[in-house]
Amino acid sequence: MTIRNPIHQAYRQAPWRRATQVGVLFLILALLTASILWVMLTVTVQAASAGLEIQSLENEKEKLVREIASLRTNIAIQTSAEAMLERARNLGFRQANPDEITYVVIPGYTGKQPQIIAPPPSPPSQRVLIKPSYTQSLSEWLFQGIIRMSEQTGGFTQ
C-alpha cells in the first residue's frame, strides 16, 4: 500500500464535515432569503393595510361631512321661524304690544351684534404661527445655519 500525496491527504476535510458545511451554508442562504421575504412581505402587508385604512378614512371623512351638513340643516329645520313661532304659541306666549314693552338702560350693552360665523382674516404677519425649526428638515436647518453664519462673519469670499 503506497501513500500518494500525503500532505494533501493530511488537510482534506472529512466528507461528513464537508456535507455539514454545505448544509449550514444552504441553511444560512435559506434563512437569509426567508428573512428578506419576510421583511418584504411585512412591509407590503403594512403598505396594503395603510392603503386600505386611507381608503376607509377617506370614506369616513366623506360620510362625516355629509352627516354634519345634514345635522346642521336638520337643526335649522327644527328651529325655523315658523317652527319657533308655533312652539312659542303652544307654550302660551304671544307677541308683546308696544305699550307692554319697557326699555331699560343697561350700561355697556351695545345691542344685538351681528353673528360672527368665522373669525375675520388675520393680518399676514400673524399667519405664520409655527416656527421654521418645526417644519424644516435637518439638511435645510444645517444649510440655512451655515448661510446665516457666513452672513454674520462676512461670507466665504475673501
Binding site: 466528507p15 407590503t44 403598505a47 396594503a48 393595510s49 395603510a50 392603503g51 386600505l52 386611507i54 381608503q55 377617506e58 366623506e62 360620510k63 361631512v65 355629509r66 352627516e67 351638513a69 345634514s70 346642521r72 340643516t73 336638520n74 337643526i75 335649522a76 329645520i77 328651529t79 325655523s80 321661524a81 315658523e82 313661532l85 307677541q95 308683546a96 308696544p98 314693552i101 326699555y103 338702560v105 345691542g111 344685538k112 351681528p114 353673528q115 360672527i116 360665523i117 368665522a118 373669525p119 375675520p120 382674516p121 388675520s122
Partner: protein
C-alpha cells in the same frame, strides 16, 4: 449507501431547480408574449378610476346666523347587474319601500349582464335616508336568513338583494321653505353635474357657493393608495336679511293682500345708512325645496322677485324725488307759496289733481301733504327738463341699482330729444306717471333723503365665509344726488305733512316721514279705468333714520288709494319692526341719549 443518499440529494435539488427555472421561464415568456400588453391594459383599468369631487355647496345664513340654505344627505339607488341573482326580491322591495313601479324595476334588473353593456343601472334618485335605513335592515335580515339556510346546508336559493347599491350624496335644502325665497333663489340640484343656482343669491353668487370641483385619480390597488386631495367646500354667505323681520314682513304683507284684494305685493325694508336690505317680502313665493313647481307659481312672465324685476309707474311716491330735486336746486323752499287752481297746462296739455279739485293757496308742505299733481308739475316746470332729468339720473332712476340679486330689471326714461318725449312728460313724470321704476330703484333713490343725501348701494350680502375666515362686505356710497341740508329739510316736510293729515301711516311714539302713492296703470289703449298701484315709502325715526320701508300693493280692490291700503300696511310693518330692531320710542331714546 452514502453514494445513494448523495444521488437522491442532487436529484431532488436538480428537480426543484428545474421547476423553479421552468416557472421563471414561463413568467418571462408570459411577460413578453403579444397578449401581455392586453392583460396589462385590462389590469390597469382596475388599478385606478377618475373621480370628480364636487365640493359641498356653501351655506346661506341670515345676519344672525340662521341657516337659510344648507345641504342634506340623500341617496341614489342602482344595481350592479353582475351580482344580481334575485331580481324579483329587488323589484318587490323597491316597490314596497321606495314606491317604484315593480315591473319597471324588474325589467331593468332582470336582464343578464353582458360585458358590452353598462354594469350599473340607476333606478332612483334623491331617496331619503329613512328609506335607505329600511332597505338596509331588509338586506341584513335577508342575509341572516341566507346564512342560517347555508348553515343547515340547504341548497335552495334564498331571497336576497345582491347587486343593489345605494350611493350617498348631498342635495340642497331650504329649512325655512318659502321664507325669503325671492331673495335666496333656488339651486336646481336635480340637474346633478350641470346644476346651478337660479335667481336671487343662488344665481348671483353661484360660482362662489359652488366652489371648484376637483378631478382626482383614486387608486383601487391598496399599494398605490394616496390621500385624496382635500376639496374645500364652496364659500358660505351671510346675508343682510333678518329672518324675523323677513317673516314678519311676509306675514303682514300676505294679510294686507288678502284684506285689500290686491293681485300681489312688495315690502322692502332697508337700513338707509348702509344700504343693507333687512327684508324683501314679495308675492308670489316658491318653496325652493320644490323648485320644479316654478312654472305653476310664476305663470307667464311673472318676475321671480317683483321688488327688483318688475318696473311700474310708481305714482305720487315719486314726488319725493321731484321735491328733493327742486329743493336742492334752490327752485323752491318749504314755504314757497303756490296757488292751486286745480289745473296747469304743460306742453299744451292740462294736468289735474287726483281729485280733480282746486286746493287754493298752498306751500310746498301742503303740496306734498295733499299730493297735488298740479303743484308738483309746476315745480318741475320751474326746475326745467334738463335739471329735472339730471336729478333723476343722479338718483339712479332708469339704471340698474346693481343690487346683488339675479334678475334685476330697469326701464330707461325718455328725455327731451328722445322719440316719444313731449313737453307734457315733464309734468306727468313729476308725479310718477309716464315713468317706470322698480321698488328697489325707488327705495334706493329715496334712501338718499333718509341718509343725509348719500345714496348707498342696496345689497343683501353681509359677509363671505371662505376657508374658515369671514370677510365682510362693506357698505358703498353710489351717489350723493342731494345735499344733507336738502335731505333734512325734505324729511321734516314729509314728517310734518304726515302729522298734519293724520295719516294712517303714523306710528305711536315714533316720528316718521313718508309719502303715499296712487298710480294709474297703463294698458294697451291708455290708462286702465278701475285699477291702480298703491304705494307708500316712509322712514324713521326722523332724527336718526334707522329704517326705510317701501310698500307696493298691485291693483287693490277694496280701495284704489295708497293712503287707504298702503299706509296702514306701512304702519303695521313699522310697529313690529321697531320691536324687532330694539328701537325704543323717540321719547325713551332721547331720554336714554341724555343720560
Amino acid at each position: 449507501m452514502r453514494q445513494a443518499s448523495f444521488f437522491r440529494f442532487w436529484f431532488v435539488g436538480g428537480l426543484l431547480s428545474a421547476v423553479g427555472l421552468f416557472i421563471f421561464f414561463w413568467m418571462i415568456r408570459i411577460n413578453l408574449s403579444p397578449q401581455a400588453e392586453v392583460f396589462r391594459k385590462i389590469g390597469s383599468t382596475y388599478e385606478t378610476y377618475r373621480k370628480t369631487i364636487y365640493p359641498e355647496r356653501g351655506n346661506i345664513y341670515d345676519r344672525w346666523g340662521h341657516l337659510l340654505a344648507g345641504n342634506v344627505e340623500t341617496y341614489e339607488i342602482g344595481v350592479d347587474l353582475r351580482f344580481v341573482s334575485d331580481p324579483q326580491t329587488i323589484a318587490a322591495t323597491l316597490a314596497q319601500v321606495v314606491g317604484l313601479d315593480y315591473n319597471t324595476v324588474y325589467d331593468s334588473v332582470s336582464e343578464p349582464w353582458d360585458s358590452d353593456l353598462p354594469r350599473y343601472v340607476k333606478l332612483a334618485d334623491f331617496i331619503d335616508p329613512e328609506k335607505i335605513d329600511q332597505l338596509d335592515s331588509i338586506e341584513k335580515q335577508l342575509n341572516r336568513q341566507r346564512e342560517e339556510a347555508s348553515s343547515r346546508r340547504r341548497n335552495t336559493v334564498m331571497p336576497n338583494l345582491d347587486g343593489l347599491i345605494w350611493t350617498p350624496m348631498l342635495k340642497r335644502s331650504y329649512p325655512e321653505h318659502t321664507l325669503g325665497s325671492n331673495v335666496i333663489g333656488f339651486y336646481a340640484y336635480r340637474e346633478r353635474e350641470t346644476a346651478r343656482g337660479y335667481f336671487g343669491v343662488e344665481e348671483k353668487y353661484n360660482q362662489l357657493l359652488a366652489g371648484t370641483p376637483v378631478e382626482v385619480e383614486v387608486a383601487l390597488d391598496p399599494y398605490k393608495m394616496n390621500e385624496i386631495p382635500s376639496v374645500p367646500p364652496g364659500a358660505s354667505l351671510m346675508l343682510t336679511l333678518d329672518r324675523d323681520i323677513q317673516a314678519m314682513s311676509e306675514r303682514i304683507l300676505d294679510k294686507h293682500i288678502e284684506s285689500s284684494g290686491a293681485k300681489s305685493g312688495v315690502v322692502v325694508v332697508m337700513d338707509p345708512e348702509t344700504g343693507e336690505i333687512l327684508a324683501m317680502a314679495v308675492t308670489p313665493r316658491l318653496d325652493p325645496n320644490e323648485y320644479w313647481k316654478y312654472s305653476e307659481v310664476f305663470p307667464g312672465i311673472t318676475a321671480y322677485n317683483r321688488a327688483i324685476g318688475t318696473t311700474y309707474e310708481p305714482g305720487s311716491v315719486f314726488k319725493v324725488l321731484t321735491m328733493a330735486a327742486a329743493l336742492d336746486a334752490g327752485v323752491v323752499q318749504p314755504s314757497t307759496p303756490f296757488l292751486d287752481t286745480g289745473v296747469i297746462m304743460v306742453g299744451g296739455v292740462p294736468i289735474r289733481n287726483w281729485d280733480r279739485g282746486a286746493w287754493g293757496p298752498q306751500d310746498m308742505i301742503g303740496c306734498m301733504q295733499h299730493s297735488l299733481n298740479v303743484c308738483l308739475a309746476w315745480v318741475a316746470t320751474q326746475l326745467g327738463p334738463s335739471k329735472f332729468y339730471n336729478y333723476l339720473n343722479n338718483f339712479g332712476i332708469g339704471h340698474l341699482t346693481g343690487v346683488d340679486l339675479g334678475g334685476e330689471a330697469s326701464q330707461p326714461f325718455l328725455v327731451p330729444g328722445d322719440n316719444g318725449w313731449y313737453e307734457v312728460n315733464l309734468g306727468t313724470n313729476s308725479f310718477g306717471q309716464g315713468i317706470a321704476a322698480t321698488p328697489i330703484q325707488m327705495i334706493t333713490a329715496i334712501s338718499a333723503v333718509a341718509n343725509h343725501g348719500k345714496m348707498m348701494a342696496p345689497h343683501v350680502l353681509k359677509a363671505v365665509i371662505e376657508n374658515g375666515e369671514q370677510y365682510s362686505n362693506p357698505p358703498q356710497i353710489i351717489g350723493k344726488p342731494i345735499s344733507a341740508e336738502t335731505a333734512e329739510t325734505l324729511t321734516n316736510m314729509l314728517a310734518t305733512s304726515l302729522e298734519e293729515e293724520s295719516s294712517a301711516a303714523l306710528v305711536d311714539g315714533y316720528r316718521v316721514a313718508g309719502k303715499t302713492g296712487t298710480a294709474e296703470i297703463p294698458g294697451p289703449g291708455g290708462y286702465l279705468d278701475s285699477a291702480t298701484n298703491a304705494s307708500f315709502v316712509g322712514w324713521g325715526p326722523v332724527d336718526d333714520p334707522r329704517f326705510i320701508v317701501y310698500v307696493w300693493l298691485e291693483q287693490p280692490q277694496t280701495s284704489p288709494w295708497g293712503s287707504v291700503v298702503a299706509a296702514p300696511l306701512f304702519k303695521e310693518i313699522v310697529e313690529n319692526l321697531v320691536i324687532l330692531m330694539d328701537l325704543p320710542p323717540d321719547s325713551v331714546r332721547q331720554g336714554m341719549a341724555g343720560q
